[in-house]
């Protein structure tokens, strides 16, 4: 069912055009090379895929449905909206596709311990889940700010046996969690595998994360052809680092008729200075092992970001998305906090599906795009996760529960 060819591969150094690469401290260069070699070896091994795809089918619950959201389409007007239901995966978000893949790689390499960074907590939960299944020790680095707004996920990780380590440095959000996980990995790389959660970081992570998530777009492509008899006109995904976006969009890259849209978090508005739109508002820079678009000041100091959604609250973006954007293959859109909240409520009321705040960014933009199109056209939106983890944030934003401090 799945195409295992690696298309649009980076060069030998992990570069996508001028982006990507391996801008890592010397201590990590050899461990990264070992992961790269293990990945290519595993990817060429049928037994690796047999186990991976079996877990994806019988543990994760793939293939996830492609749902024609008729009520949402009627409420929006315009193109037919189809939702790729990654929210229905085990653990409630697409992140598990990648942690299964990297977890198998870690086991294959004989590593006894895994670590990960997490923003919204979904990647942390997905990592803790795989660690529990594989019997590995698991430490998750999470900004203290993010822990406060995603407490249900913190507790889930603990229940799964993971140790959640609060990060207070810098802005105490996702970027600082990555810093802290990298610091730990430098000291522990001999027995520890760093399960990187987004399509960023030093080579080979952008490639690994993309390859493990392409099941999303490959399924959606086949399902759309089967259900609608044609490809979508537009494919839409939200972008923080870019894991769900690369997963959905990559398999459509060679379909010239399909517009690919990345939706960034506009926070309080793109002109407010308080957002996480690194493609729209950033410039090329080097952070966390790769050259990509960053939100930074004139002197290269990385800036704090704002989004109502912890999973999008990151000042960088995957290098391959930066490359696709620069090449003109990727269109940008942006959704504010308020628009995301509205989209979350609209989908919930019209379809009985409560989406994650991250995915609500894609929904809001997808609906805007659909509105300007004809009824015989198709907009495919990646519903990357479910909203349970965000209820506290949503209830506060709606004024249903009291805002503390």
């Amino acid at each position: 069912m799945y195409n295992l060819d690696i298309t649009h591969a980076p060069d030998a150094g992990g570069h996508f055009g001028k982006f990507g690469g391996r801008f890592a401290a010397e201590t990590l260069m050899q461990p990264l090379k070992e992961i790269e070699e293990a990945f290519y070896e595993a990817w060429a091994d049928d037994s690796f895929h047999a186990e991976r795809l079996d877990l994806l089918e019988n543990y994760v619950g793939r293939a996830t449905p492609l749902y024609h959201a008729k009520q949402l389409t009627a409420a929006t007007g315009g193109a037919q909206i189809y939702l790729k239901r990654e929210d229905l995966t085990h653990t409630g978000a697409h992140k598990i596709n990648n942690t299964i893949g990297q977890g198998l790689l870690a086991r294959r390499m004989g590593k006894k311990r895994v670590i990960a960074e997490t923003g919204a907590g979904q990647h942390g939960v997905a990592t803790a889940t795989v660690a529990a299944m594989f019997g590995m020790q698991c430490d998750i680095y999470m900004g203290r700010e993010d822990m406060a707004r995603q407490m249900p996920n913190v507790l889930r990780m603990r229940l799964l046996g993971a140790n959640v380590i609060p990060v207070d440095s810098g802005t105490a959000t996702l970027k600082d969690a990555v810093n802290e996980a990298l610091r730990n990995w430098v000291a522990t790389c001999e027995d520890t595998f760093y399960i990187f959660g987004t399509a960023a970081g030093p080579h080979p992570y952008p490639l690994l994360v993309r390859q493990f998530h392409t099941v999303i777009g490959q399924e959606a492509r086949a399902q759309c052809l089967k259900q609608a008899g044609r490809l979508p006109d537009v494919a839409v995904a939200c972008v923080g680092g870019g894991s769900n976006a690369m997963g959905l969009l990559h398999p459509f890259r060679d379909d010239a008729s399909v517009r690919l849209v990345a939706v960034e978090a506009a926070g309080y508005g793109l002109e407010s200075g308080q957002h996480a739109a690194s493609l729209a508002k950033g410039k090329a820079g080097i952070l966390h092992g790769n050259l990509t678009f960053l939100l930074e000041d004139d002197e290269g100091q990385v800036q704090g970001t704002h989004s109502i959604s912890a999973g999008l609250d990151y000042p960088g973006v995957g290098p391959e998305l930066a490359y696709m954007f620069e090449q003109g293959r990727l269109e940008l859109d942006a959704t504010t906090d308020d628009e995301a909240l509205e989209a979350l409520q609209l989908l919930t009321r019209k379809e009985g599906i409560i989406p994650a705040l991250e995915s609500s960014h894609a929904l809001a933009a997808g609906a805007r795009i659909a509105k300007s199109m004809d009824a015989d056209q198709i907009v495919l939106i990646n519903l990357s996760g479910r909203g349970d983890k965000d209820m506290n944030t949503v209830f506060k934003a709606l004024g249903w529960v009291e805002n503390e401090s």
Partner: protein
């Protein structure tokens, strides 16, 4: 004195001089602008008096390879409003007072990248720097900076670590000039020092490959005893977090300066035997 036209191999001269004097070079680190630009100037000048090579840290928002002590130093410097122009100005002041001192600007790729490596190298050289150490630009990514550094006569200090294979050691040595900085442990700055015997063996191994290139050892050197041990088999001993830590341990500027000077003097004595 015009520092811009001084011999580009000043670092080589430093190691030659130390060799002649029968001692190992002391390399000290402080973050520029920590805790503020004017105090930093005094501290850098004080440390320069005791060291052969001064590493001047360029503060960065995300110091991924640094432990809590140097992370905090970067945060203090940025909070105090330290700009890259201040880093160059501090460098110039240290250079003016210390014509023979080796000066290395140390930091992370994004700061020079944001300025552009050409302009960065030009300004670093004009300020009196001899070399540059960028933690997150390995030899493989040297294409973004090597030409600019070379054009402006700046040495590129390369890091090696316990995980470096022979292939990587060769790669780094081919790319490096000035000296090799051996990171004595798999970890971040300021961690506890690794086993001295294995550090010794790795340094010996690197020196066999590095040819004439001096090898300095750092990360985790906190006591004069450790410095003396490392001095026995290396060309230079790097002390960073231990010096930076004085900034939060003393009450006022004069006390910090006095503590730093005393600490640097005991380190200097330790490596001088």
């Amino acid at each position: 004195m015009n520092s811009a036209i001084v011999d580009p191999s000043r670092l080589a001269a430093v190691f030659d001089r130390c060799k002649q004097e029968g001692r190992t070079a002391l390399v000290g680190y402080l973050t520029a602008g920590d805790p503020d630009v004017s105090t930093s100037e005094e501290l850098l000048l004080a440390l320069a008096e005791q060291t052969d090579i001064l590493e001047i840290g360029m503060p960065f928002s995300d110091p991924m390879a640094d432990g809590p002590v140097i992370q905090a130093a970067s945060e203090r410097a940025l909070e105090a409003g330290t700009h890259i122009s201040d880093v160059f100005e501090l460098t110039r002041k240290v250079r003016d007072a210390n014509p023979e001192l080796g000066i290395v600007l140390m930091g992370y790729a994004n700061v020079p990248y944001a300025m552009g490596f050409d302009l960065f190298s030009e300004r670093a050289k004009a300020a009196g720097a001899d070399g540059v150490l960028i933690v997150d630009i390995p030899a493989e990514e040297g294409h973004i900076c090597d030409a600019a550094l070379k054009e402006h006569g700046l040495d590129r200090i390369m890091l090696l670590s316990p995980t470096s294979t022979d292939e990587r050691i060769q790669l780094a040595c081919d790319c490096a000039s000035g000296f090799i900085y051996y990171v004595s442990l798999n970890g971040i700055t300021g961690a506890d020092m690794g086993d001295m015997q294995s550090i010794h063996e790795k340094v010996k191994h690197i020196k066999a490959i590095s040819d004439d290139l001096p090898v300095c050892v750092g990360f985790g050197v906190k006591t004069p005893e450790q410095a003396a041990q490392v001095a026995e088999f290396s060309d230079g001993v790097v002390v960073g977090s231990h010096f930076v830590a004085h900034i939060t341990q003393a009450e006022n500027k004069a006390d910090i300066r006095a503590a730093l000077s005393a600490s640097a003097a005991s380190m200097r004595q330790a490596v001088g035997i």
